[in-house]
Amino acid sequence: MKTTRPEQSPLDRLNTTVDAGWGRLINRVSPQGGARRMLGLLIMAFALFSVLNPAVFLSATNLQNIALAAPEIGVIALAMMLAMLTGGIDLSLVSIANLSAITMSTLYTTMAAADPGQAERLAPVILLAGLAVGLLGGLINGLLVSVVGITPILATLGTMQVYNGVAVVWTGGTTLSGSPSALTNLGISTVGGIPALFVVFVVVAVALGVLVSRTPLGLRIQLQGANPTAARYSGIASRRILLSTYVLTGLLGGIAGSLFIARNPIASADYGASYVLLVIVIAVLGGTDPKGGFASVLGVVLATLTLQIVASGFTAMRLSAYEYGIAQGLILVVVMAYDEVRRRWARPVSRRPARRASS
């Protein structure tokens, strides 16, 4: 009883070998979940625009610009990812970043008025002050969320307005200019053709990745997000974890603030308002579960780059900002839907698909 099977054609054989080889390669470098998906998308987007408009898209300037624009958004997206990892959200990040940028700018201009040389020498102190402001903003969020017990979305919506309001009052609504030249120089320098700010971003991302997946604190943050009750019964001090998380997101906000003034030596209350929702999109695209417990730093980094690539590709294609808005929405929805369909296809009937633990 042998069913006749057509002889496999050489082409098919080639295909199978290539597929197998490709599969092995993928498995070797295999990032998981959000990261894997974003890697695919990133390559696709890059290839697409390279083909459509290579002259503009592949120019050194353009690639540098992508690397220059990504850090500030990326750092805020990483902070958002961290907040979402605990099942929360931090809407105040951009306001914190602005407040810290304003602090640094004000300190610098005040000092420079008295003694410019001194102001430059004290650049590290100024930077620390800015980060401290971020930390403080995060601390207030953390206290509201953990001690007072306000839902994060409301607590940070409130503090977003408070921090923003303080920034408006402080600056009188004007845009401050002035930033230590150490920072400004960092903003325009490159290392081997790669903007220094991008290097800073990668360093922050690596540090955060290590923190989340390789340290006790990171594990606790993940567990707190996955199931707060069980976390409590496991002896995880939920309040302290939430507090640390929001302090950390505040600190990242502060770092974003210093990236702001490194890139443009100015500080104002209304910079980056459009980032608030954008970073949620990035965090989620990067594989963060908004319900908490799961996130991927690599995924978020790749998602940041992908959206930057699409944005610059669209300008290169002379498409409008509205069309980019549509594309951004479509990418989000299609990627998530595709993911879900594929997952269900892999396990056609499981109602509660087991999620991959990754970070």
Partner: protein, 351 residues
């Protein structure tokens, strides 16, 4: 399941309301009293009517959000739907070549709203995607499509049938403090609130929404048609958003496709302030009404209260934090008390 402890605690619980409506009402009253002391001009009929008037659109939007939040989701695309539906309608009816009048315009807006809601509902129910993500995506899509392909211009003059209601008032009173007008469009808002309240409390559809928000898998096991109900919820929300959009443009007497979008978080804040749980399954129309009023009172009275313009953003934020903080602490207090009574679930909060 003991009858023990159904004493003072129970009475307090009743007064507090199942979603903290009681506390919210007290916060609202205190705020009004405070404002009135700060500036007697606050405690007047014109101010009251003005606050009611400015609450109409946020309220209708908030009611839609409430529905989504109870069902366990979150929606950030409703403002985009509101503008899309209303602006497109205004564009279509600009010349009113069909002579369909107001009814035609409203129907057209409702259909557009329903269709856009259907897109959300389809993606959410069919693919079982997180609602925040879907609506974040569709928000960008709807807004982009509107501005790129429908139109992006400010339309200064509305079609006549719409323009006619702009200046129609329900009540006009002249008091010592000046003229007080209550806009006629509070009626649809009130009707929607009442109707939604009835639907949520008295119909199986409403209860199913709570059930889905409570535990979606349990809802499926109980035979509730989750997919269909989610679809209907998002369609209804789309239609409510369309109504809100129409009212917004009618009251503003112009159509600007750049408005409304961006204020989503404030609406969600009002709903959550009104006691709805971000995690789904809890929330009431009464609470939402109080939440919206509270935010409107805050937003509308800072100038009167003498808060300098520059400080107003901060003040809104501080008041919001205080409002939800009081609620959170009050909820915490009762949890703790209950923990003492030994009722078993106090566990997660008594740290």
């Amino acid at each position: 399941m003991t009858a023990r402890g159904v004493t003072a605690g129970a009475v307090a619980h009743r007064l507090r309301g199942s979603n903290n409506e009681g506390i919210l009402a007290i916060v609202l009253v205190l705020l009004v009293v405070g404002m009135s002391i700060a500036n007697p001009a606050f405690f007047t009929l014109p101010t009251a009517f003005s606050i009611l008037r400015s609450s109409i659109v946020p309220l209708i939007l908030a009611l839609g959000v409430l529905l989504v939040i109870i069902s366990g989701g979150i929606d950030v695309s409703f403002a985009a739907i509101a503008v899309f539906a209303a602006y497109t309608t205004v564009m279509v009816f600009e010349g009113d070549t069909f002579g369909l009048g107001l009814v035609g315009a409203v129907v057209s807006a409702l259909i557009i709203g329903a269709l856009l809601g259907l897109v959300n509902g389809f993606l959410i129910a069919r693919f079982r995607l997180p609602t925040l993500i879907v609506t974040l995506g569709t928000q960008g899509i709807f807004n982009g499509v509107l501005l790129a392909y429908v139109g992006s211009r400010y339309i200064a003059n509305l079609p006549d049938p719409m323009a006619a209601i702009s200046t129609t008032n329900l009540i006009e009173v002249t008091t010592a403090g000046g003229h007080a007008y209550l806009h006629v469009l509070v009626i649809p808002a009130a009707i929607l609130a009442l109707a939604l309240s009835l639907v949520l409390r008295r119909t199986m559809f409403g209860r199913s929404i709570y059930a889905i928000g409570g535990d979606i898998d349990a809802a499926r096991r109980a035979g509730i048609r989750v997919t269909r109900i989610q679809l209907v919820v998002y369609v209804v929300v789309g239609m409510m958003a369309a109504v809100a959009g129409m009212i917004y443009m009618i009251m503003g007497r112009s159509a600007n496709p750049h408005e409304l979008v961006g204020g989503e978080l404030d609406i969600i804040a009002a709903v959550v302030l009104g006691g709805a749980s971000i995690f789904g399954g809890r929330g009431s129309v009464l609470g939402t009404v109080l939440g919206v009023l509270l935010i409107q009172v805050i937003n509308n009275s800072l100038t009167l209260a003498g808060v300098p313009s520059a400080w107003q953003r901060t003040a809104v934020g501080v008041l919001l934090v205080i409002g939800v903080g009081v609620q959170a602490l009050a909820a915490r207090g009762t949890w703790r008390a209950r923990g003492r009574l030994g009722i078993n679930t106090a566990r997660e909060v008594t740290a």
